[in-house]
């Protein structure tokens, strides 16, 4: 207490005891260069030791009063990986203000803007970066392309991405470019891009199983099954667990009625992806192909449970129920499918046939007409309609529809033999019945059974890279609030 009193008088510190500011110390101050610990930062960052990294950065920033370029840069990168984009943007802007000429910083700022979804601002920033950079940089072009895609200007996007591809040969650019073509519907161009990408990245890229799968899927879309199979096989050779490729390969096997091989593929895929509705759908249709209807139904139902809003699955469920002659159930599934997707002719055709079996000829006729409207070029619809009309006794209508079928059949050369057979049988029956105009029921019913099968091919396989929305989850809440005695 004594000392304190001598030091302070009336609360004012006595003058001579104030430490003099900036008293020159005996030793020369050690001037650390700003970059002296950059190597350490870099090392920790590359080892993903972000905790230590952050402490170091804090020290560096305090020492340099926030003017440390590299520390700011690394902090920005770390913050970005943690998902704090706004804060990382601040760091990069600090870097940029410290060194206006550095293109990297502009690029990072632009990237932050892009990640925040501010595409037009990002685009401007990238354009600025492009001007600042002396050599053409594939990264800038690539990102410009991405920005244009997000802004919806595909031609400019393609232009930028093409340049990126030429400069960098980078996988991401190829994928983005191919995606652009796909979005514009130019499948062939997309295939070419993928081919080029595969040739270039064949040795280096470990991720090329994905590329090969994408290419395979494109071939599949184009209907070039041989090429598709080749590519998918290649993808599987590199990554035997790749679920997408397995699913696609299985679907192709399924298309060729090679159900056992397809099932073996699906079995592997199911291990890595047990909750995929597409997978269970395809497995179900495999069983359907093998005529194991109960197994097919339970697989399809599981698929339906996992993705309740998917009309494919409902359609297939309807088909299998028809095969087991449970027409009421089939009707329910098919009507649900038409509700979810009203513009599919095949569903209406199936619906019509079910209605016919449920003894509702009026609605069946309506459904046939609707199917015909939706898909006027499908030959199987008039044929089925003709068979239906014939069984109803409307011979003139049947003849008209049969005529229509024959017109369409001439236009499409690759028609399944089953359809043609049914048609010839039907025409015979019609002729006979028109001859004996008594109209007594002749034994011409045999055409009917087959006609159901005519549209199966449509139903079989949809290689679906699963839709993004997770289905509304079926969460049956079973609360049994019971007393336990």
């Amino acid at each position: 207490m004594e000392t304190s009193r001598s030091e302070y008088s009336n609360g004012i510190p006595s003058r001579k005891l104030i430490p003099k500011p900036n008293e020159p110390s005996a030793k020369e101050p050690e001037l650390q260069t700003v970059e002296s610990r950059n190597w350490l930062l870099h090392r920790h960052f590359t080892r993903k030791e972000f905790g230590i990294c952050k402490i170091l950065i804090q020290e560096e920033l305090e020492r340099t009063r926030g003017k440390h370029e590299y520390a700011n840069y690394i902090q920005g990168l770390i913050l970005r990986q943690e998902g704090k984009i706004q804060e990382s943007l601040d760091c990069f802007q600090m870097c940029h203000s410290l060194d206006l000429k550095n293109v990297d910083y502009i690029k990072q700022v632009a990237r932050s803007l892009f990640l925040m979804g501010l595409h037009s601002l990002a685009l401007e920033a990238y354009l600025e970066a492009q001007q600042a950079s002396k050599v053409p940089d594939w990264d800038i072009y690539h990102n410009l392309g991405e920005c244009w895609i997000c802004l919806g200007d595909y031609t400019k996007a393609k232009e930028s991405l093409r340049q990126a591809v030429q400069l960098g040969h980078h996988e991401h650019s190829y994928v983005a470019l191919a995606d652009t073509y796909k979005m514009e519907g130019e499948i062939q161009a997309a295939i070419d891009i993928y081919k080029a990408a595969l040739e270039i990245t064949f040795r280096a890229a470990p991720d090329s199983a994905q590329l090969a799968t994408s290419l395979g899927l494109l071939y599949l879309q184009e209907g070039k099954y041989q090429h598709a199979l080749e590519k998918l096989g290649g993808a599987l050779a590199r990554d035997p667990q790749c679920a997408r490729a397995l699913l696609a390969a299985g679907a192709m096997m399924q298309n060729h009625s090679d159900y056992d091989v397809a099932l073996s593929k699906y079995k592997i895929a199911a291990q890595s992806w047990p909750e995929s509705p597409a997978l269970w759908n395809n497995v179900g249709m495999c069983f359907y192909g093998k005529k194991k209807y109960v197994a097919a139904l339970s697989c399809l139902k599981r698929a339906h449970y996992l993705s309740a809003l998917d009309w494919d699955i409902l359609f297939n469920l309807g088909l299998v129920h028809m095969a087991t002659q449970q027409y009421a159930s089939a009707f329910h599934f098919l009507s649900a499918a038409t509700n979810l997707r009203p513009a599919h002719a095949g569903t209406f055709l199936l619906l019509a046939i079910t209605l016919r079996h449920l003894d509702d000829p009026d609605n069946a006729a309506e459904a046939f007409k609707q199917a015909g409207l939706l898909s006027p070029m499908d030959a199987s619809i008039p044929l089925n309609y003709a068979v239906f009309l014939e069984s109803q006794g409307d011979l003139d209508g049947a003849a008209l529809q049969l005529e229509r079928f024959q017109e369409l059949a001439q236009m499409s050369p690759r028609l399944s033999s089953e359809l043609v057979q049914t048609a010839t049988q039907l025409s015979k029956v019609l002729n006979r019945r028109l001859m004996s105009s008594n109209g007594s029921k002749v034994e011409g019913v045999d055409g009917n059974d087959k006609s159901n099968m005519a549209i199966e091919v449509e139903a079989q396989v949809r290689v679906r890279n699963p839709p993004v929305d997770s289905s509304p989850e079926s969460l049956p809440r079973n609360h049994m609030a019971d007393d336990e005695v």
């Binding site: 925040m116 929305d469 989850e473």
Partner: protein, 499 residues
């Protein structure tokens, strides 16, 4: 008639109130009649006696101030805390999980709600049903309610003044001590005094009476002294094997989060009492808590062969069948429950769902109508939600939307309904509304992965990568094995880690 005899007869007829008044009159005449005194005590106890084995519920305080935990992160399949880690269990994709972070169970019982949630906030939010709150104190809700009996003012002061009574005197007289103990425990609900008496009594009989040891264990258990309780129960079991003791010892291990030891105890119990349904039920419940549904159902099946009217077992088996793609089988079990005379909204709800998935469409809607007419406030939301699912199943999205909105109006915290509304809005192309619904669902129910995933994939599509990246990580926290989430995260990481 001799008034003592008539009081005894009233006691046997379980007319406790009248018995108590008769005893009071008798005691007024002769305060030192021990027989009448004991009779009155037993009548008072009997009025309030409950099966406290089923009443036990873990409060928030115990879940958090838990100093008995052995390992912070237990090995897979050895802890009730994280049921998701066990092998061969059902996943969230098939069987939905409840707010407490475990798969839905066939019956609501105290144990199913004991969640040991991750954070305090989540624990406070977790309701027991949709309306009542979870008990937040160390003793179970029912025990607290018991205590109120002692707070009722009785004419002429309390029957026994615990603070004045000389416990040592009574401890040496077994005929008096046991009723007195039960009176103190159940009527007065004073565990401290009960414990004192039990300690004195067990000393007086030279530690030879197993009954006192069980009671001591009960007291220790209620006070949260698990290790002491364990000792007492074990020592009691050495002297005498009794079903109740096995069950209580099992409960101690469950509280200590050592389900495997609890299973061992129950199995030993089964050696003495083969096919005993209470022990089998306990085992089945523990397996369910460990998310090992196949084993759980196996034990429930054993129960049903022994006791074909066991509601819990039938309901749990039915539930298991429903979530393993066998709605027809589930339907049979639930129908059995209906035949047994159960008649409530939950049952009709489940019947309706089973009918729908088993394609008995004509029954579905009438079941749900019954359910709605029987439903109490907290069930209505769930039933509307399920009707919404049926509407989605028949492709009527407008009806589905209306049902889901009704569900929300009945219970504004119904997260799955918000999620499904979001999906429906997304189908109609209304992105902003969908996103808002997903966010609402996610904030209400952090244990569901669907809203997170939907929100994230939507943001990804819209180009808001930052939001997508943050949200998808939460989805993976809720359900680490969700493959689409993993793929989305991988795609996003390319953007975020690429320099």
């Amino acid at each position: 008639m001799d008034p003592v005899f008539s009081a005894l007869s009233l006691y046997k007829k379980r007319k406790f109130e009248e018995c108590v008044t008769t005893c009071t009159e008798l005691l007024d005449k002769n305060p030192f009649d021990q027989a009448v005194w004991v009779l009155k005590m037993r009548a008072l106890t009997e009025q309030l006696y409950v099966d406290d084995l089923e009443a036990e519920e873990e409060g928030i305080a115990e879940a958090f101030m838990d100093n008995e935990t052995i390992a912070e992160s237990a090995r897979p399949g050895t802890s009730l805390k994280n049921p998701g880690t066990s092998q061969g269990g059902s996943t969230q994709g098939y069987r939905p999980w409840t707010q407490t972070g475990r798969p839905v169970s066939g019956v609501v019982r105290p144990g199913t709600q004991t969640a040991r949630p991750g954070t305090m906030e989540q624990a406070l939010r977790t309701p027991r049903t949709s309306k009542t709150a979870r008990p937040s104190t160390s003793q179970s809700a029912r025990t607290i309610r018991l205590g109120t009996a002692s707070m009722l003012s009785e004419p002429g002061g309390p029957f026994i003044q615990l603070s004045r009574i000389n416990l040592g005197n009574y401890a040496s007289k077994p005929a008096l001590a046991k009723p007195l103990f039960l009176y103190i425990l159940y009527h007065e609900n004073s565990i401290r005094h009960a414990l004192q008496l039990a300690v004195l009594a067990t000393q007086a009989c030279e530690f030879k009476d197993w009954w006192w040891k069980v009671q001591l264990g009960k007291c220790y258990f209620a006070l949260g002294l698990m290790r002491e309780a364990e000792q007492q129960f074990r020592s009691a079991l050495r002297q005498h094997q009794c079903i109740e003791t096995f069950l209580r010892l099992g409960r101690v291990y469950i509280r200590l989060d050592q389900p495997l030891s609890a299973l061992d105890v129950c199995r030993t119990g089964l050696e003495y009492f083969p096919k005993e349904t209470t022990l089998l039920t306990e085992i089945a419940r523990i397996f369910e808590g460990l998310n090992n549904m196949t084993m759980s159902v196996k034990y429930y099946r054993e129960i049903v062969t022994e006791d074909s009217t066991n509601v819990e077992a039938i309901a749990c088996i039915g539930m298991h069948h429903f979530y393993t793609d066998q709605p027809e089988m589930a339907l049979r079990f639930y129908r059995r429950l209906l035949q047994m005379g159960l008649y409530n909204a939950e049952l009709f709800n489940n019947l309706g769902l089973c009918c729908f998935y088993a394609q008995q469409y004509d029954m579905t809607l009438s079941c749900f109508q019954h359910a709605l007419s029987l439903a109490k406030d907290d069930d209505v939301a769930d039933i509307w939600y399920n009707i919404g699912l049926i509407a989605i199943g028949v492709g009527d999205t407008r009806l589905a939307g209306q049902c889901l909105r009704l569900a929300i109006s009945a219970d504004s915290t119904h997260a799955p309904a918000y999620n499904n509304l979001g999906v429906l809005e997304l189908r109609r192309g209304r992105v902003n509304e969908a996103s808002a619904f997903f966010q609402a669902a996610a904030s209400l129910a952090p244990y569901l992965f669907e809203p997170y995933f939907n929100h994230s994939s939507l943001s990804h599509k819209m180009g808001d990568l930052q939001a997508s990246y943050i949200v998808i990580q939460k989805a993976l926290e809720a359900y680490p094995n969700h493959v689409p989430s993993q793929e989305l995260l991988r795609a996003l990481e390319k953007h975020f880690t690429f320099i």
